[in-house]
């Protein structure tokens, strides 16, 4: 009798251990994927920033901004920025994300090739917002948002929700590289959520920095400097490495 009980107990514990290992494995894969999505999004924004001269240039070939050429450039940016291989493009989420990038670029083709408009306004935040909006229509259970603290938001449609405010507070207080929550909920359903903070980098400062960073002030005497950036917003006077919000990713049940 004792032997049978011991056998049953050992079977249960083995199954429990297997299930636990399976869940831990599944969770770590989810956490890896969610971080890859955030990095892919960030790499595409970085590529858009690096190519502001090309975006705003007149009368030149811009084929690098479209189709598979664009994705190839995002991959290169990813590899350089994170010193890692680009994630598996067969993953449905990565596949959808790269397809949506191509769609966003294509929907801006007329503007990008409009030689009469010197400043297109196609900056990383605008690209990121369009990407998020298009992805939200794909019904794949993924939401991406580039957000910041409520008082720092320029586009009111990017206002953070409670989870995002909490994540930003934790990231800042504990100086975290990122924050992952596999017990979150979204629209009253179980969700995994991830927040990747973004620190002010030199390229952010041309809009969010001090008037000395404003390209519109270049070559002008200081008395004539404007604190209105090229997009028409007042500059925030932030400096390098200040907290600039971050990328919020949600995986939720459809």
């Amino acid at each position: 009798m004792l032997k049978i009980s011991f056998f049953i107990l050992s079977l249960i514990s083995t199954n429990y251990a297997l299930a636990l290992t399976h869940n831990i494995d599944k969770d770590s894969k989810k956490s890896e994927l969610i971080s890859q999505v955030a990095k892919t999004y960030q790499a595409s924004m970085a590529f858009i920033f690096q190519n502001q001269p090309l975006i705003n240039q007149q009368g030149v070939d811009k084929s690098q901004l479209f189709g598979q050429a664009f994705i190839l450039n995002v991959k290169k940016t990813y590899q350089t920025k994170f010193n890692q291989d680009f994630p598996d493009q067969n993953s449905p989420v990565i596949k959808s994300l790269t397809q949506v990038m191509i769609e966003v670029m294509e929907s801006n083709r007329t503007l990008l090739y409009d030689d009469d408009i010197a400043f297109k306004g196609f900056i990383p935040a605008i690209f990121a917002f369009q990407l998020s909006e298009k992805l939200s229509k794909k019904n794949i259970g993924v939401k991406i948002k580039f957000t910041s603290k409520p008082s720092q938001i320029r586009n009111q449609l990017n206002q953070p929700d409670f989870w995002e405010v909490d994540a930003m507070n934790k990231v800042q207080k504990l100086n975290l590289v990122s924050y992952f929550d596999d017990q979150a909920s979204y629209l009253n359903k179980p969700a995994q959520r991830y927040f990747l903070p973004v620190k002010m980098q030199p390229f952010c400062l041309s809009c969010h920095g001090v008037p000395a960073n404003n390209p519109l002030n270049a070559g002008k005497p200081e008395a004539q400097w404007s604190n209105i950036d090229r997009t028409g917003f007042p500059m925030e006077n932030w400096t390098l490495n200040d907290f600039g919000g971050g990328i919020s990713i949600t995986f939720f049940e459809k």
Binding site: Q99, E106, D114, D116, G121, F122, L157, T231, G232
Partner: protein, 239 residues
């Protein structure tokens, strides 16, 4: 026991039924750059995508080009089975469960007055913005300090474009500016549009009101499967 004459009679009786269920009439509306009546519609991507889906299920598909008002009347009468691409801001039409694509409203400007980022609403202060009658404007514009001017008349959108060109408006609200601001439209040499991202709406393939459930299910499933495989919006980006 059924004799051969009864069998032949049955087949003849059933034949027209099969033909009816296998034929489909599709109304097509001009919606540049997806469908441009200046081109042969068979070369347009929106036609190619829809036809590739439908031809797997229907052997006889007829496409008829219509102006929007007439197309809607024909659809309501049941003279056409499907109609696309159609904006339906007031949700009056029956349509397939998945959106065909999405359109984003925006503002059009003469190029020298172009505002690229429309979340910068403080730049709208005192701007004379034409709003064609019957269009649903976005809250961002509604709550801004722009001077909204209602453009009346049956052809208010085209009138608005003319007023913009004449410099009598600073900007024109357009429910889907891509129709205007695309490479194939000569107007895009003069006018540029930017978008109210975050306020996109569905563009549909509408179905006639009395479509039988079986046919509707066949079409709806076919499009759902196709869209899951490759969305029309992605297909549109392919050369």
């Amino acid at each position: 026991m059924i004799n051969k004459y009864t069998l032949i009679a049955l087949i003849i009786l059933l034949m027209p039924l099969k033909a009816i269920s296998n034929s489909l009439t599709v109304g097509v509306i001009e919606y540049p750059p997806h469908i441009d009546f200046k081109n042969n519609i068979k070369s347009e991507k929106a036609y190619k995508y829809v036809h590739a889906v439908l031809e797997r299920k229907f052997s006889d598909i007829k496409y008829i080009k219509y102006p929007t008002k007439r197309a809607l009347a024909e659809l309501k009468k049941g003279n056409i089975d499907l109609l696309y691409p159609i904006d339906d801001p007031f949700n009056k039409l029956n349509h397939l469960s998945n959106a065909f694509f999405y359109s984003t409203p925006g503002l059009c400007f003469k190029k020298q007055n172009f505002i690229p980022i429309l979340s910068a609403t403080h730049l709208f202060k005192k701007l004379a913005v034409g709003v064609p009658s019957g269009t649903k404007i976005v809250p961002t514009l509604e709550h801004s300090q722009a001077n909204l001017i209602n453009i009346k008349g049956t052809d208010s959108l085209n009138r608005g474009i003319e007023l913009l060109r004449l410099g009598r408006l600073d900007a024109l609200f357009h429910p889907n500016p891509i129709k205007l601001y695309n490479e194939n439209n000569p107007l895009s040499k003069e006018i540029a549009c930017s978008y109210f991202h975050g306020y996109s709406s569905e563009v549909h393939i509408a179905t006639k009101p009395n479509m039988d459930k079986k046919t509707l299910k066949i079409i709806d499933n076919a499009f759902s499967i196709a869209q899951n495989e490759t969305s029309y919006e992605y297909f549109f980006t392919q050369k």
